[in-house]
């Protein structure tokens, strides 16, 4: 680092300019990481918070939007309940609905119909648990839509009225809309097209002959794993682990792929920009390096010094960009799906540094090809 530090101090302007570019790339990677995490949370935070190990969809259901496409019957549910390693198998209904609050505000909701005492029942931060036929427990984030305890939501077209009786702990969204948990029986009433105008009652539910759900949520027994292929073969379903099931949420795959692609390009740009800078820097130092090699500086010393310089530059300015990105993230408007999570942000910073170093290394290895003889002015 003897030479590296002195060069950084000597060529402050050039290195600051390069550092500013690295910092800007770092800011962008942090913002993209935040947007990516925010969109993921917006798309599947409801699924992420479920204590399910896997979901079983009706066999052959198309992956995209599978939660609302799939239909499972009681036999499939019972079949899964009998599978080895399965602690619980609970039916879940899923559908998107439009509703209007009693204050006239239009809201979109993802209805998750669950058996009130099953493992799928969400923890509530306020109000009561899922249970009453006409009661729904909605995502904490629905408060931003002006929804509060006691708010009556009227479902568009069928005029069924449901009352907000609780809020989940934290964000619970699916496909970018707030989740409303309701009893499976109420969901079946709506799905069967037999929901009455006004508030549904126990009488409406009791008279219903409709036992279908959308998917079977599976929870593995402690320390056990579920043989999904074997279960699918028996139950006639297509199952996927929880994380994989995110792809079955509306638009999830397209969004994450788009953002991942932008991030990959950003990392590539980082490697190219840093590589180009160190390439020019090495060319500018050709004669100086030739002199150093002529007086006997080992190539590995010069390579180590050059890489240490690049690493210092990358770490320092990525940290600056990280801090600026986190600061900008805090100033994001409330409606924007943005979430700064330690893991993705740190891995974005790590990737910026590593790929920047790769770019620098490709340029710095040219040092080994510089002929010390050129220190004599190239005359032989």
């Amino acid at each position: 680092m003897f030479l590296a530090l002195r060069e950084l101090s000597f060529a402050k302007g050039r290195f600051s300019l390069m550092g500013a570019v690295i910092a800007l790339i770092s800011v962008l990677t942090v913002i993209l990481s935040g947007l990516s995490s925010g969109l993921v949370n917006d798309g599947v935070s409801g699924l992420k918070s479920l204590p399910a190990t896997a979901f079983a969809f009706d066999e052959g259901t198309k992956t995209d939007n599978a939660f609302s496409r799939s239909v499972v019957d009681q036999d499939q549910i019972e079949s899964w309940r009998g599978q080895e390693g399965v602690a619980e198998a609970a039916p879940m209904g899923s559908s998107m609905m439009n509703a209007t609050s009693d204050s006239g505000k239009q809201v979109d909701l993802a209805f998750f119909g669950i058996e009130p005492n099953s493992f799928l029942a969400p923890e509530v931060s306020e109000g009561q648990q899922v249970g009453p036929v006409a009661g729904i427990v909605v995502s904490e984030t629905a408060r931003d839509e002006g929804i509060d305890l006691g708010t009556v939501l009227t479902l568009d077209r069928i005029d069924t009225e449901l009352t907000v009786i609780g809020f989940t702990q934290g964000q619970a969204t699916f496909g970018h809309v707030d989740i409303a948990y309701l009893p499976l029986a109420t969901w079946q009433l709506i799905a069967a097209g037999q929901a009455p105008a006004g508030a549904p009652t126990a009488d409406h539910v009791d008279g219903l002959d409709f036992e279908l759900g959308s998917v079977v949520a599976l929870r593995a027994a402690d320390g056990r794993s579920i043989d999904l292929a074997a279960g699918d073969a028996v139950a006639g379903t297509t199952s996927m682990p929880l994380a994989e099931s995110f792809n079955a949420s509306p638009g999830y795959q397209a969004e994450t792929m788009t953002l991942s692609m932008i991030q990959v390009f950003l990392y590539a740009i980082c490697a190219l920009v840093v590589g180009a800078f160190f390439s020019v820097w090495t060319i500018q130092r050709r004669h100086e390096i030739a002199v150093l090699r002529a007086i006997g500086a080992p190539v590995r010393f010069l390579l180590r010094d050059g890489l240490a310089q690049a690493a210092l530059l990358l770490v320092l300015f990525t940290a600056v960009g990280l801090a600026a990105g986190v600061g900008l993230g805090a100033a994001m408007p409330a409606g924007m799906p943005f979430a700064l999570e330690y893991g993705p942000v740190m891995s974005a910073a790590f990737m910026t540094i590593v790929l920047g170093l790769v770019g620098a290394a490709v340029s710095i290895v040219r040092i080994a090809r510089i002929d010390p003889l050129t220190a004599l002015g190239g005359q032989r």
Binding site: L3, A294, G296
Partner: protein
């Protein structure tokens, strides 16, 4: 022995440097096919420790090639190069780099100092490369070339003569057995040229360094112990 000789830290930490430079029947051909040129033709040269030899000759006569081979920067096609009796043409590239660091001091045109380093750091850098003592101080060497007061200045803040003086001090950090001077007065006026060459000759004799100076400047030859002329790749003593 002078104050400089006592104060050069590396001396006490490593054995007495190899002494004397010998080139024997050295030949070198460059280029391919019809463009092949014999730049060194059976050149033999012996410079004893403490001797200050000068090589003159027109451009393209092979002076720099002679210097490159004497300094282990390139290898001859035939012939041997010995420093202190050891044949350096058989060394691997990494060993030749180590040899240059420990046994050869280069003084280039215009000093060829590292722009980002101060005069003091130029010397510290060589000490670090040679894994010299941590207690190394560049001051005695800078004092010997009259540059102590400019120790914290970078090359851009020094005159041509000052840069060359720092270059001389840098070449002496490891107390080399051989010193090779590539047109050291090329960028200096007449008065500065005499000053610098006189200093080099004095240090060479005082420290027992076998020195070869390649130059076009015949006005400084009065400081040399021996004189050679290079013409069409052949070296003749004058």
């Amino acid at each position: 022995m002078s104050q400089l000789a006592h104060q050069t830290d590396l001396r006490s930490s490593r054995p007495q440097a190899l002494a004397g430079l010998e080139l024997e029947d050295v030949s070198l051909t460059l280029g391919d096919g019809e463009d092949r040129i014999k730049v060194l033709d059976r050149v033999s040269l012996t410079v004893e420790s403490g001797e200050f030899a000068a090589v003159v000759g027109p451009s393209g006569s092979g002076k720099s090639s002679l210097l490159a081979i004497a300094g282990a920067l390139s290898l001859p096609d035939t012939g041997t190069v010995r420093v202190g009796g050891e044949d350096i043409t058989a060394l691997k590239p990494s060993a030749r780099a180590r040899h240059r660091l420990e046994n050869v001091g280069f003084v280039f045109q215009s000093g060829n100092l590292i722009p980002s380093l101060t005069a003091g750091d130029q010397l510290r850098m060589v000490n670090r490369l040679a894994k010299g003592p941590r207690s190394f101080s560049p001051d005695p060497l800078l004092e010997a070339v009259g540059m102590t007061h400019r120790a914290k200045h970078r090359p851009g803040q020094l005159s041509g003569g000052e840069r060359q003086r720092v270059g001389i001090a840098r070449a002496m950090v490891t107390r080399p057995a051989v010193m090779l001077l590539d047109e050291p007065t090329a960028a200096l006026d007449s008065a500065r040229s005499h000053e610098v060459v006189a200093l080099l000759a004095e240090r060479s004799r005082e420290l027992g360094i076998a020195t070869v100076m390649v130059t076009h400047d015949i006005s400084v030859l009065e400081h040399c112990d021996s004189l050679y002329e290079m013409e069409d790749g052949r070296l003749n003593k004058r």
